[in-house]
Symmetry: C2
Subunit: 333 residues, 2 copies
Amino acid sequence: MNKQQILRKRPTTLPESDTWELVSSDIPRPAVGEVLVKTHYVSIDPAMRGWMMDRKSYLPPVQLGEVMRGGTVGEVIESNAHPTLEVGDILSGWGGVQQYFTTNGEMQFPVDTSVLPMQKYLGVLGMPGMTAYFGILEVGKIKEGDTVVISGAAGAVGSLAGQIAKIKGCRVVGIAGGTAKCDYVVNTLGFDACIDYKEGKVYEDLVAHCAQGIDVYFDNVGGPILDAVLARIRLNARIVLCGAISQYNNTEVYGPKNYLSLLINRGTMQGMVVLDYITRYQEAGAQIGQWMLAGKIQSEETIVEGIEGLHPTFMRLFNGDKRGKLLLKVNAE
Amino acid sequence: MNKQQILRKRPTTLPESDTWELVSSDIPRPAVGEVLVKTHYVSIDPAMRGWMMDRKSYLPPVQLGEVMRGGTVGEVIESNAHPTLEVGDILSGWGGVQQYFTTNGEMQFPVDTSVLPMQKYLGVLGMPGMTAYFGILEVGKIKEGDTVVISGAAGAVGSLAGQIAKIKGCRVVGIAGGTAKCDYVVNTLGFDACIDYKEGKVYEDLVAHCAQGIDVYFDNVGGPILDAVLARIRLNARIVLCGAISQYNNTEVYGPKNYLSLLINRGTMQGMVVLDYITRYQEAGAQIGQWMLAGKIQSEETIVEGIEGLHPTFMRLFNGDKRGKLLLKVNAE
């Protein structure tokens, strides 16, 4: 049988246990020219919260009654005369939150698991990795000597964005929740410092750690932390708007009251969506892979077993109970 | 005697009648190498509100007890062996809110009044003109066919920014307060449409007038109008943060709740300060002058007589009782 998580309700604040329904149906049969994929991991992303809302965005909303959208990595277990894909191929793509799916291969990319395990292709070599890479380099335009601040620093995107900034010769200050995460950010990831926002003095800590002000801020969280950073930016600062995890479950978004600091400091705040860089994913993947093999990039996954656990796993994005890339393991390997 | 307006109190909300004090002193004597300037017009600018606040900004704050900072245009009436300036020269620069001042010529620029009257050098050919020119072209990066929205459309900066956008082949929609101003914006300045924000349906009007969304927004006002525009931007939109007149007298700034529209639409919000373009003022002035002489640019000044009237004149910036460049005439010509 194929277990699937179906979107049943559009949450207005935090998703609840009946937001999705777990259903079982027959494992689908691949049509001619298709393959059947057994999914191993589903990526659990903050972006999923946005896809559940019925509004115009960079992707159409998931419809009620549909399988929840999700990035996946899995194995081809049957081919019905597909021209190129073979049994045993590992595919990264949009499989959704289910155990099996059929595909003609569109938006599914074969990945090489001979050197790195498949789950890396949902994290450091997947969308979070691409987001970090293009966000910090193309939108943040970091250069040697810059002071760079990264929120969500222990997360899949932030951890990589900061490590890339370190490689490029920046001073990098992370922001994360709790002592354990901050230790990880400094001692494992190699950031110069990490601010524990749960101590409630982010602005004061930014003053202490960014004596000359902030050149680049990679924002994954929004809210009052964004305001604290805005109050501390330098001339010509760049703010990469990548996400706003603190705001996704609010009925009213916290608007940054210090946005006029952009005016005084000739700063730029720019939004990014990783899909725009799809033609350059290969370039980024090659570079990140090289850094990983050279030991310059550390990455981690928090893996939760069982498709049944979508809701509590998803909640970890918001309560912070995870490190690095959050994955749901939906089938045994 | 020399009448001067001295900053006595730092306003926390709207300036009051005792924010400045009018004092009289002897007309100063130029030292050797200096000239004495009789000021004709003082520019009354929203930026003055920021200069009164005791905080780090792009210029140091005006100190209590100092003559209020202000842009001026006036006539050299005495030279004490100045190497280049002569009696009769007209200077534009930072004379402050007073009737006379001495200067060695630093930050004072001789202007040619043979074709255009001196007050134009505080408006369309002065800082507001430069702000509009570099803001719409360099920060807004307008191109033919763009839909451009301008708030403060009947003001000194907005009126010019919109006319430049029209010259460059954009569709231009203004936002202003009241029917009379909107008529002026459309019928005299030649904008394609103008939204009267006092009717309280800015978002709906933006939907009506910008069917395809907004490519460039030149923001002079901030507040809920900025939010309405954010909700209507197109892919890769540029927002020029030039000012926020609606927020300058608030103790807490209204943060744009729709800022995440920048993320979804890969938009950019960028602050600007005209002083950064000082080396290119001449280029801009020549171009604007050419457009004026060709009849492509209309400009207007609201002139209030008497240095005594600084406070009520300044209040017109916030109650909207003015059109084009607001000037205080502090001496008879």
